[in-house]
Subunit: 457 residues, 2 copies
């Protein structure tokens, strides 16, 4: 039996593998919304059951939040741990979906056949690529080529509050030689990517309160403080006119891009015009003087992800609201310290408050950026494996998203992480009409089989 037999088995079983993914996608496991708690349990149960059916010793493990799924199978070195997350983003604005987000559909599009539904790309479809690769390997060989630990969480989209405590509590069990993480994308449709740097993320919520109730702007307008106005001033002060973030000490730990990386990235010929045109934009909106790839991979950001206050229904209401709220996130790079930045942010907001206003802060997670151990031999082995599967050679890339688990694996269990994923820029993750290309799913499964072969050679 050879790798080719496994790849042939994968090709043959693709319809069944797709059906399994559709079943998982039907479970509305939105982790950030407490009303979907039961669905998160159901998704975890489904994964345990699926792993058990492959002969994996798998269990659902309770946490103070949504459960973890842990499973073990196989023998021998290296011991690899595969991580994915079964929770998904909320679906609003749901009216912009062309179909029910949790009634996934196979659709033929101009870009090929896709699996449409919330979580198809982020991260259920990606998570299943590895499971399906293992299932095929097991079916062909009767065993797996090394010891494999499956580790799935259900809180990735809501700040992973239970992750670090769980890793600490189960450190021995979860300390493998290498972590494989499938939650990233292709560089472009012909070019797979291995992530070498990940931005961190700091998520804050603020509520500014003025009067003890909503007021009538006819009676109180002009004399009473307006919390939306206060909030607008606070938010507009976070960037200067060049797009640079103004918090004191914010750029501590941010180094200029090394020349070697700059020239390597230049060689990728990133088509930012096409990247932006896909969403009807044309101007890179980041800090002046930075290249587009720097803006999304190696520069920190401050974004307002949500804002609300006063009357937001149809028509008009001349209300002076009692409070106004915003959700703000910072993508962090290099050695920026998320806790120091949180302190600086909170001090800034507090310092901007006029008399009669108070603020309350909500903490939605903080993680530093990660730099991968590209000198680990698995990186070159995986690159070779990907080169065999895809038309163009694999690229070492940065990643604008925050995948804090890589940092936690390093800090708690001393594991290096290999981040390889098959999502595409147009997958619309976190947006309406999320999809995953059937080609991503299929070649993703095949890629993992090749990688398993290459790192156990």
């Amino acid at each position: 039996m050879t790798l080719q037999d496994v790849l042939t088995k994968i090709d043959h079983d693709l319809p069944q593998a797709t059906e399994r993914l559709l079943t998982l996608l039907r479970i509305p496991s939105i982790s950030t919304d407490p009303s979907y708690k039961d669905a998160c349990e159901t998704a975890a149960d489904w994964l345990v059951s699926d792993l058990l059916s492959m002969g994996v010793t798998a269990e659902k493990r309770a946490t103070p939040g949504h459960p973890m799924v842990v499973g073990h199978i196989g023998q021998g070195a290296p011991h690899v741990l595969f991580y994915g997350h079964y929770d998904v983003q909320p679906v609003d604005p749901v009216e912009l979906w062309d179909s029910d987000p949790f009634d996934p559909q196979l659709q033929d599009t101009s870009g090929g056949r896709v699996i449409r539904g919330r979580g198809s790309s982020d991260d259920k479809g990606q998570l299943m690529t590895f499971i399906e690769a293992c299932r095929a390997w097991q079916a062909v060989h009767g065993s797996l080529p090394c010891k494999i630990t499956f580790f799935f969480e259900g809180e990735e989209e809501s700040g992973s509050p239970s992750l670090v405590p769980f890793l600490q509590k189960n450190k021995a069990e979860l300390s493998a030689d290498l972590a494989l993480i499938c939650d990233t994308g292709l560089f472009e449709s012909r070019t797979p990517a291995i992530v070498t740097m990940l931005r961190g993320n700091l998520c804050e919520e603020i509520v500014i309160t003025g009067a003890n109730k909503d007021l009538h702007s006819g009676m109180f307008g002009g004399i009473a403080i307006n919390p939306i106005r206060v909030l607008s001033r606070i938010l507009s002060g976070l960037h200067d006119d060049h797009g640079r973030i103004t918090l004191p000490g914010f750029y501590d730990g941010v180094s200029p891009l090394p020349e070697s990386l700059r020239s390597q990235w230049k060689g990728l010929n990133f088509d930012h015009t096409a990247f932006l045109a896909d969403v009807d934009l044309s101007h890179p909106a980041g800090e002046q003087g930075k290249t587009p790839l720097e803006m999304i991979w190696s520069e920190p950001t401050c974004e307002i992800n949500g804002i609300e206050g006063g009357y937001t229904g149809s028509g008009f209401k001349t209300v002076l609201p009692s409070n106004a709220t915003a959700k703000i996130s910072f993508r962090l790079v290099g050695h920026q310290n998320p806790l120091k930045i949180r302190d600086a942010f909170r001090a800034y907001v507090t310092g901007m408050l006029p008399p009669d206003c108070t603020v309350s802060f909500g903490d939605h997670g903080a993680s530093a950026a990660s730099l991968m151990a590209t000198d680990h031999p698995a990186f070159e082995a995986a690159k070779d494996a990907l080169n065999d599967e895809w038309p163009d050679a694999a690229a070492y890339v940065g990643c604008g998203g925050s995948i804090p688990v890589a940092g936690h694996f390093k800090n708690v269990t001393e594991m290096d992480s290999l981040l390889i994923g098959f999502g595409k820029d147009d997958d619309q993750i976190h947006s309406p009409n999320e999809k995953y290309d059937v080609e991503s799913f299929h070649k993703g499964i095949r890629s993992w089989a090749r990688i398993l072969a290459s790192i156990t050679d």
Copy 2:
């Protein structure tokens, strides 16, 4: 039969009058929300029926929006037109109400007995004070002392789009010698007020759009424009550091307060500390150097009444929204031109747009400020009548709210308006738990009977 007989009848019939008001308050006639369209019709029907029961020739009159109610009764000079509005504000945030906004309750509070419910003070309770005064007069005398026209609209809380066209179309029928408007408040609980100046109002809605869909801030954060950030910059630029509004030409037509008015207002001994303390505030937040009464009566304002964008549910979502929206209103004074200010506002917003952003504007009404004809003999007659009813002498006051109908009456039908109302500062109009004091209702009815007597002497 004397005025005293009418007042005695009013006192005797107060329970029945209160029951009628409660019936009207049960109709959820929220004009700004299209889903309450039928309720607005029902409220108009109820008023027609109530007027008919008093012998008034009353009809519901269709408009492109919610209907008007017009009724006539009586003979002789002066011909007075009474205006009120039967529509009410939305009730959100409904969770802050202690009882159903549309299941009105009589409650005993530390401040006396109150009628609790949406519209109790603004404006159904006020509107009914005049109807009840006429009902008692009619019951005692068998007729009314002069020709009276009742004119009720159902769009006051949504910009009165049908008002001016309706006035123009029915100019002859609605041109009385004097308009009586009951939609304002007491100066304080012992002191009635006659309004001599009204702020105008300009209401605008803006939607800032960037990308053609919501984006993931991991993938696009740093390179894609964030419409909430753009909106925050726009809104924060509307005031300078002294609280002065920055739009070019905004203060054209605003005159300094005349010395005579300044000294008269000083004599009112307005307790702004208590006024603000009632809503847990302590600092007058208007333009530096203005007195508290100027801030609410004679200075223009710019307020953000609502803002929304991105993810506003529980938890966190690292979305870059496609668009963000705000509702902004300007209270106008003196001879400020609302249409010129709208142009200046829209030019400012458009000028603040970065590349890739577009804006759409929504128009929610525009009206200039009004100065009342205080030399009209009805003003002194009404003042004397109020002095007879209330413990302290009536005051000539400004009014922070916008009651554009007074300007429209002047412009279209050449009527002067006498604005007298019995609301209190703590009525929580436009807010949760709106109430109207039973004393306001009772003495309001008695006040109108006295005023009818005084102006027809």
